[in-house]
Symmetry: C2
Subunit: 343 residues, 2 copies
DNA sequence: GTGAAAGCGCTAACAC
DNA sequence: GTGTTAGCGCTTTCAC
């Protein structure tokens, strides 16, 4: 019944454990006959090496840790699929943890994964992370880490990102071209570089098109839209302005659907009264009412590239001198929610 | 720098490893002073026990494995959140694996988790799993397993499910009451009990309302809607029937949005021409066009109950004589997609 | 009250 | 070509 070990095989075959071990690893120094004997017996008994023992010995585990803000988000779940597919084919296992946008959980997860001897880490920062020492120390110690999407500016390592500036710029310009002038921007705390970049793209597009930037059109949701109340409050402020916006650019999945929801509740016609464009990887964007213009990120590819870089780092421990940052383009999927109606 | 071990502490304090070990576990047989000394030094050096070593020794890991069909699905990701929250508070870690509706991956994941010495397993079957020996053997060996949502009929253990029959019955009856007569049912392969139960509820509702069951109104998508082509094909068949349906009951998340998508593409007015009700936990159901009537499952609670049962099983290894099956009620969220228009 | 030693499963020097 | 041994980090008998 229970799991069989090398020792059991050795005993059964009247060999030493080291011989069995060598035979199983097909070592050149073992007699062909002995090998065959061992292999067949192992096969027959369904022998499987104990990965825990291997991890303890080698301080590695052929597994990589992934820390993301949350799973219940299409962008991240698509990303995970990208990660898993590559990792799996390269013989690595993927262990996923959620920070739930909490700095403490991010740290706790990191520590746990490290103690579990993952060979490397793939991380997308929580929106409330400002202190990065837990990662800096790890990198210092030689732990391979690759950041994606929400990456830190101050850490030198491989990164996989999206051109947020451009994505935001294009979306904003698209709104302008469809005749909007009072474009609001709904975003998350600016700790994250993705938020600053998206804000910058938005500003630049306004500027390039001769529209003055108005700070009161920018609303920050500190929990990134996780709390609906926060979302609604921000939207209410916008709607009750003397000159309410005629378009909104929402900076994340959560923010986008939250925004759409509030507009619905207030019976505001989209796009006639207010146009909406959002960063989102939601699968049903074209089935929404109205079909939603979306800034989409190539999540799957990002995940694939991220693991690829990570595994390269893991398997080439010689200090890499220059790290790369792979940048993807977002794609603007234009749909009704931003249709021109005023130009 | 690197991680510090009990041995390091022992050496530094001129004690034996066993004394240090005992002191850290606050054993009664250790001198208070020694304890204090050890504790403080350990604290100062950020000592953390190596979980791998513990797992190797004790053949357990304070972690539970979760095997689900896929993460990129609101129902499952909400469920995971339920699992994680409870597991975390009880000191267990959660390791998530996706079967991607593949029997082989399900088996591979199971084996891996077992070899990694998870203390228990939480599983929702892949839609293509018909052979259950891999789970049966494990249970035989004493591995705690709790199934949820997609549960096997033939295995005796704790289960957490939803009353699929009733959910389906209510949804169907609702369609009938809103004036529909030719109600189609879009479902996945009937290997899964959830599929047979939903089908049964649908049939019974028809019967109870004097509508003859017509097999040609039932379409099976073998990949559960994972393949859009499959989905479209099934829908096309329905639409090209001499008497196409005037309503559709979709049996899963994927199937529901796929169905909605095809109806859109074919410019079929919902609910005027065809009404739609679907099993789905999608968050934006009320933002869809039209707002979607949904059979919603209490995913979070199901996850919480499932871990709770599992951990009870883990921590009470004495053979439990009777296993329980906890059953939740679905809730029918009536929205426009099934509004009455013909009665 | 504390230490020595064995063992969890595996591999790799180092014998012979 | 095969066996012996030590060690990865930890706990736990068994001694003293």
């Amino acid at each position: 019944m229970e799991t069989i070990t090398i020792k059991d095989i050795a005993r059964a075959l009247n060999l030493s454990t080291s011989t069995v071990s060598r035979a199983l690893r097909n070592s050149y120094e073992i007699n062909a006959e002995t090998k065959k004997l061992v292999m067949e017996y192992a096969e027959k008994m369904h022998y499987r090496p104990n990965p825990i023992a291997l991890s303890l010995r080698d301080s590695k585990s052929k597994s990589i840790g992934v820390i993301i803000p949350e799973i219940a988000n299409n962008f991240f779940s698509q990303l995970i699929n990208g990660i898993e597919s590559i990792a799996y084919s390269l013989g690595y296992h993927t262990v996923i943890f959620q920070s739930h946008e909490s700095y403490e959980r991010e740290v706790a997860n990191t520590n746990y994964l490290v103690s579990r001897k993952v060979d490397g880490l793939l991380v997308s920062l929580s929106s409330l992370t400002t202190d990065l020492v837990h990662f800096e120390e790890l990198i210092e110690k030689g732990m391979p880490i690759v950041f994606f999407d929400r990456v830190p500016n101050d850490i030198e390592t491989h990164k996989v990102v999206v051109d947020n500036f451009l994505g935001s710029y294009e979306a904003t310009e698209h709104l302008i071209q469809s005749g909007r002038r009072r474009i609001a921007h709904l975003t998350s705390p600016i700790y994250l570089s993705i938020a600053t970049e998206r804000l910058a793209g938005y500003k630049k597009a306004l500027e390039d098109n001769g529209i003055a930037f108005d700070e009161s059109y920018v609303k920050y949701c500190h929990h990134g839209g996780k709390l609906t109340t926060e979302n609604e409050a921000a939207m209410q402020e916008l709607l009750s302005m003397p000159e309410p916006p005629d378009a909104i650019l929402a900076a994340s999945d959560r923010l986008t659907s939250g925004c759409l929801s509030v507009l619905h509740k207030n019976h505001i016609r989209i796009p006639e009264e207010i146009a909406l464009v959002g960063f989102t990887n939601i699968g049903v964007a074209d089935l929404l009412n109205p079909p939603l213009t979306a800034v989409v990120q190539p999540a799957m590819e990002m995940g694939q590239q991220a693991v690829e870089l990570l595994i390269r780092l893991i398997e080439n421990p010689k200090k890499i001198s220059k790290f790369e940052t792979r940048s993807f383009k977002t794609s603007l999927m234009v749909r009704e929610s931003s249709a021109g109606s005023r130009s």
